[in-house]
């Protein structure tokens, strides 16, 4: 068997694809932004050659497709060069979104685990609740998001909690489904062994069911944290674009600030990647402590 080579098998192919994407991006930026320059030139009554258009398409104020370096410059300007407390700082907006995401994710995880424990231990709950939990995944929950926000606003609850509730709602279902599967993962033979040890139900739970559900829990947590970020971003849309990454997206689309949209998008992507990686690291650490191979 050939030893897997990190460079040859992962870094190089991914790098080449990323480079291709970058090249395609630059080329399409030129072609998508060129008509605007031609129009400006035609209105001024001058002819413009392609070699004159080319540099101009790289530095438009409101390009159809901003060039990558414009996005990077915008991100640099709004994160490093801007004080964190400023309303124009992307770090500030990312923090608003992140706090809602984490709060919602936390509540969703606890609720999901509790419900899964109930479903595993009570047959009536299993039979009556489980079909609805599965059916509810097919419903576009995000459609309810603006209503939850506006209605809770009307009662006087605003700010972090409504957004967090949407994240909770979204992150809760993958966790229930994953945990039910995980808590049922021990085989009959293992349950019988616990029975011969005269283990109480709570001992069976903590010493057998809970440890064996960990891989399933972490797989669901990865899905859940990604989806609760989506929930927080969508939850920020109908609040009238005050703060948060979703608000940046909406404000950018109202005022045609494409560079701002793209930089908010990249920030959201970086946030999602970081969160998923953190959950992945926790996964490896927990499984290692439990003596399991990840």
């Amino acid at each position: 068997m050939e030893k897997p080579n990190l460079f040859k098998d992962s870094i190089m192919p991914v790098g080449v694809i990323l480079l291709t994407v970058l090249v395609i991006w630059y080329v399409s930026a030129v072609f998508l932004n060129a008509p605007f320059e031609r129009d400006t030139a035609a209105r001024a009554g001058t002819e413009i050659t392609f070699s004159e258009i080319l540099p101009k398409t790289m530095f438009q104020q409101r390009p159809v497709l901003p060039a990558p370096h414009q996005v990077i410059a915008e991100i640099w300007n709004t994160t490093v060069l801007m004080p964190i407390t400023s309303k124009r700082s992307l770090v500030y907006h990312a923090w608003i979104t992140l706090s809602a995401t984490l709060l919602g994710f936390g509540i969703g995880t606890v609720l999901g685990i509790l419900l899964a424990v109930g479903i595993v231990h009570n047959r009536a709950m299993d039979r009556s609740l489980m079909p609805w939990v599965i059916a509810s995944q097919t419903i576009p929950i995000l459609a309810i998001a603006p209503m939850i926000i506006v209605v809770l606003n009307a009662v006087g609850i605003s700010g972090l909690l409504p957004k967090a509730l949407i994240s909770t709602y979204l992150s809760f279902f993958p966790i229930v489904v994953g945990m039910v599967k995980g808590l049922r993962a021990p085989e009959q033979i293992q349950l019988d062994l616990m029975h011969t040890y005269y283990a109480s139900p709570s001992q069976t739970f903590w010493k057998l069911r809970w440890p064996s559900s960990m891989p399933y829990l972490f797989a669901s947590l990865k899905v859940a944290i990604a989806i609760s970020l989506v929930g927080a971003i969508v939850g920020e849309l109908p609040t009238g674009a005050v703060s948060g990454l979703g608000a940046r997206l909406l404000a950018g689309s109202y005022y045609g600030q494409t560079v701002q949209i793209w930089s908010a998008l990249f920030m959201a992507a970086a946030l999602a990647a970081t969160l998923v990686i953190i959950v992945g690291l926790a996964h490896t650490a927990v499984l290692k402590r439990m003596g399991m191979k990840p």
């Binding site: 694809i17 419903i139 995000l142 209503m147 506006v150 990454l245």
Partner: protein, 290 residues
Amino acid sequence: MNYGLLFGAIAFWLAAWATNEWLVRRKFRTPSANGVVRLAVPLLFGVSILVLWEGLVRGLHVPSVLLPPPSMIWTRLINSVPTLWADFQQTFLKAVITGYALGCGLGFLVAIAIDRSPFLQKGLLPLGNFVSALPVIGVAPIMVMWFGFDWQSKVAVVVIMTFFPMLVNTVSGLAAASAMERDLMHTYAASWFQTLVKLRLPAAWPFIFNALKINSTLALIGAIVAEFFGTPIVGMGFRISTEVGRMNVDMVWAEIAVAAVAGSAFYGIVALIERAVTFWHPSVRNARTA
């Protein structure tokens, strides 16, 4: 406060719960009775939730702006069928179906195209997995800017959202056939195309249908959320956001009910096709015998 309604609803809920407890503990002799119980238990639970909702809202006099009772939502639904149908046509029939077909089709074709190049697979798979975890929904404002307010921009959002799950699942599905089975095809002197059609695609169906099921939900979410960023004056997402603004919460709930039924039906149809196509798979066989 109307205590009669309140306690009536709670009593009904408790009675339904007790009936369910009794039903799941009883053993029925005939398989058909077991089937009926299997269906009746969740149905009874659903009905009891609706009754509880109605009773609590009416009994506690919750303002209908906050949470309208189910009966009010139902009346609204019946009375505004033309509007709901127009929204359904705009969002579901035009944006979701087109985008879903295009996105899944493209994902499938690209997966087949890169099948013969391990290099491209190694490059695209980690990226595809990565993109699947991203809040792709954020491209909605950009797509609205590029493709205009009408359904074309929603199709674009749906295509982007559904493409990557399909790509990743198809590629891993095509790798699912074991080396032994492949060797057998090789001894038959089967060409790459024959191996693909007769062995590897059938082995990949469970993975592909998994992606199709995930995408059926994603597509509806994508289309509805994309409408928050700009749309002509029709569409489910548009209706939800404007009626919320006008505090017509019953209309919003009616629209959500339509979205829920459409989403579940879409998922159900895909699941039914899956059962027909992957009849050999253990998960389907077990469900049939159990």
